[in-house]
Every structure is written in C-alpha cells, then in structure tokens.
C-alpha cells in the first residue's frame, strides 16, 4: 500500500472539494460499465446529475436508493459478489455510513476485490437541514475504515489525487475506501423517484435482463 502513503493522514488535512465536481470526475473515469450505488442524501442526486449525457440518455449501471439509509455499501457488496468481474462503487454520505459502520468490517472480512467505497463527507446531514454529523467533531471515516480492516483507505488530498485513487480503485484489487472532504454546495439535480424503473434499468445495465 505504498502508493497510499502520500495521502493526507486526516480529514482536516484534505482539501475541501465539491461533490458534483468530484462525481462528474468519477463518472468520466468509468470505462468498463462499472456499477455505482448511490446512497440516500445528496450523493444520490449528484450521481443522477453527473450521469446524464448530452444526447439525453443516462448511465444505466447506476442504482439510486430511496431510503434504507446506510445501505449503499451492502447493496454494492451484493452486486460485487454476484458479478465478480465487474467493478462496483458505493457512493455514500458521512451521515449514512455512520449509521452502518459494521458494513465496513463485513467488506473487509470478505476482502471483496472488485469493490470501492467513496465517502462524500460534508460533516453534515445536508439533505435534512445541515445538522452536524460526528465527522465534523472528530470521527474520521478513513481511520474507522482502516481500523475495520480496510487497509486500502485514504483521504483524497485534492481533485487530482481523487482521480488517481478512482483510477486505482477501478483497476487494482480492492476493497478500497476513498474519503472526500466536501463543501455544502447544493446538488445539481433531483433523482427521479420511481423505484421499479430504477431497479429494472439497473438490472438491464448489468446485463441481468434484456
């Protein structure tokens, strides 16, 4: 894990970035139909916003949760187990992951090679009014992930470092966890709330249905 040595040791040392900008950068780096699971909160909205294409079509390998707060990582783990040759990314908020920290240990125990977790950490429950989460007062998600057994966990120092980490996560064996310190910029769009359609398109995007 020598290549992770250069990354910031704590959240406080990471540059404060923007969720939509980072999500766009991430989606632009996806080349192999990687699956992406968007947790609830604004991570989901910006994934939707970043996944529209100029021709009006939309990335079909995305799954958008409507509730089940904290379950982006378990859902992504399930997809990764079912499709071991596909890379799977869980995109989750800090408030959400704080609710399901045990899932980090489950991923570590499985040693799921094709799984990456991206945490958009704004230190707040932004979608419900911006109340502080524990990450704002000292809980460090990357440190928690490492202590849960996810050795390949790092804070993204800046946008270039984020891109480098995403490239690693979609090419080298995981599991990976990438912490992103972000501002409280508003999301760029709102996800369509049609669960049956979301699930069906995702399954078609994964080649499970035709």
């Amino acid at each position: 894990m020598a290549h992770l040595a250069n990354h910031p040791a704590t959240r406080a040392q990471a540059k404060v970035m923007n969720r939509f900008d980072l999500t766009q950068r991430m989606v632009a780096l996806l080349r192999q139909d990687e699956a992406v699971i968007g947790g609830i909160g604004y991570t989901n909205f910006d994934l939707w916003a970043a996944s529209g294409r100029p021709d009006g079509s939309r990335r079909t390998q995305n799954f958008y949760m409507l509730g089940s707060m904290g379950l982006a990582v378990p859902i992504a783990l399930g997809v990764a187990i079912a499709q071991p040759t596909r890379r799977v990314i869980a995109l989750e908020g800090d408030g959400s992951i704080l609710m399901q920290l045990g899932a980090l240990g489950t991923v570590a125990t499985r040693g799921q090679k094709n799984l990456a977790i991206v945490i958009m950490d704004n230190g707040a429950y932004q979608i419900t009014g911006g109340q502080k989460t524990h990450t704002e007062t000292g809980s460090d998600i990357v440190a928690i992930a490492r202590a849960s057994g996810l050795a390949q966990s790092a804070w993204a120092a800046d946008e270039a470092a984020f891109e480098e980490l995403i490239r690693l996560a979609i090419t080298e064996d995981g599991p990976w966890l990438i912490g992103c310190c972000i501002d409280t910029g508003k999301p760029q769009d709102t996800t369509e709330r049609d669960p049956a359609r979301i699930r069906d398109q995702f399954m078609r995007g994964l080649g499970v249905r035709r």
């Binding site: 699956a35 699971i37 799954f63 949760m65 409507l66 509730g67 089940s68 707060m69 904290g70 379950l71 990582v73 378990p74 859902i75 992504a76 783990l77 399930g78 997809v79 990764a80 187990i81 079912a82 499709q83 596909r86 399901q100 045990g102 899932a103 240990g105 489950t106 125990t109 499985r110 669960p195 049956a196 979301i198 699930r199 995702f202 399954m203 994964l206 499970v208």
Partner: protein
C-alpha cells in the same frame, strides 16, 4: 425398496428440517447466504458452510444482509438472510424502503423465539411485532411447524417470490426445530 413407501418413510428419508432447507436452497439456486446467528439455526448455518455450493457469511446487522442479498439479486444471484425474531425487528425500514418498493424478492428465514416455552421476556415481546410488520407490508409469510410440509412451503414460496418479485419470510416454529429450551 419394498412396496411400502408410506408418507412417513419418505419423510424420514427427506431428513431433518435443516437438511431439507439446505437442499431446497440448492435446488432453487439460492447460493448466497447471509446471517446473524441464532442457536436454533446453528445446524443449518453449519451445513451451509460445509457445502461449497454456498457463499455464506455473517453480517454485523440484519439490515446489511437485506442490502447484500438485494444487490446480489440485481446482479443475478439469489440470496437469503437467516436471523432470529429479534433480528427481524430491526428490518421494517429496509423492507419498506428497499425490498417492497423496488420489487426485490428478499428471501428470509426467521428462527422463532418468544413463544412455546420462551424464558426471556424481551424475546416474547419483540416476537409479537413480527407478524403485524409483515402483514402491514403485505409480505407473504409462512409459519413452518411440520417436517412433512417444509419442502413444499419453501420450494413453492421461493418460486412465487421470484415470479412475483416480492419478499417472503419463513418463520421456523419451535414445533419444527425444537426451539431453544429453558436451561435452569
């Protein structure tokens, strides 16, 4: 075999509740098993771990198991979650916001505590919440009490869950499993 192949003989040949369950899961290609353990489920969990057909592991919390098998289902693999009654009581939110609205055939086996000789008042109270939750979400559930019905209920109901894209919950009564006995 002699001509006497009575129902009782077939039953004996079919084996224990956990052998029947394991075999139906295999036949139905339910290869992913997540669980939070329960003492009564122990022989089933051990039999599943002993069989290379299955990918089986414990999760930290039952909700996680529902998420994992939902993801696996969307990725083309059938899975199931094993738990005890108290574990089921942590699930209404995920069933109502993931399994049911997204039409995901979440398969669940619950080892029933809280009845027929329960010694822990917490278990007997939490057990009372289970069927009302399932009914309020219109989730199919079966309380399994008899060995001779076990295969039929499991096999038919898994087929139905997949065909109708709806969750199903199998409640294993102490009448089937022997339950957990009060130890003085």
């Amino acid at each position: 075999m002699p001509a006497d192949t009575s129902a009782a003989d077939t039953r004996a040949a079919a084996g224990t509740w956990w052998e029947i369950t394991r075999d139906v899961l295999k036949r139905q290609r339910v290869s992913l098993v997540t669980y939070v353990p329960d003492n009564v489920l122990r022989p089933l969990i051990e039999a599943i771990h002993a069989d290379p057909f299955f990918t089986a592991f414990a999760v930290a919390r039952e909700e996680e198991g529902v998420g994992i098998v939902a993801g696996a289902w969307m990725g083309g693999t059938r899975g199931i979650l094993l738990m005890q009654t108290s574990g089921f009581a942590t699930l209404p939110n995920v069933l109502a916001s993931l399994s049911v609205p997204f039409q995901i055939p979440t398969l669940m086996i619950v080892s029933e505590r809280g009845t027929l000789g329960e010694f822990n008042i917490g278990q007997s109270l939490v057990a009372r919440t289970m069927r009302p939750v399932l009914d309020s979400l219109a989730i199919e559930h079966h309380t399994m009490t008899r060995l001779d019905e076990a295969e039929f209920i499991l096999d038919r109901s898994i087929t139905q869950a997949v065909a109708t894209q709806a969750p199903v919950c199998f409640i294993l009564s102490p009448l089937l499993t022997g339950g957990k006995v009060f130890a003085k």
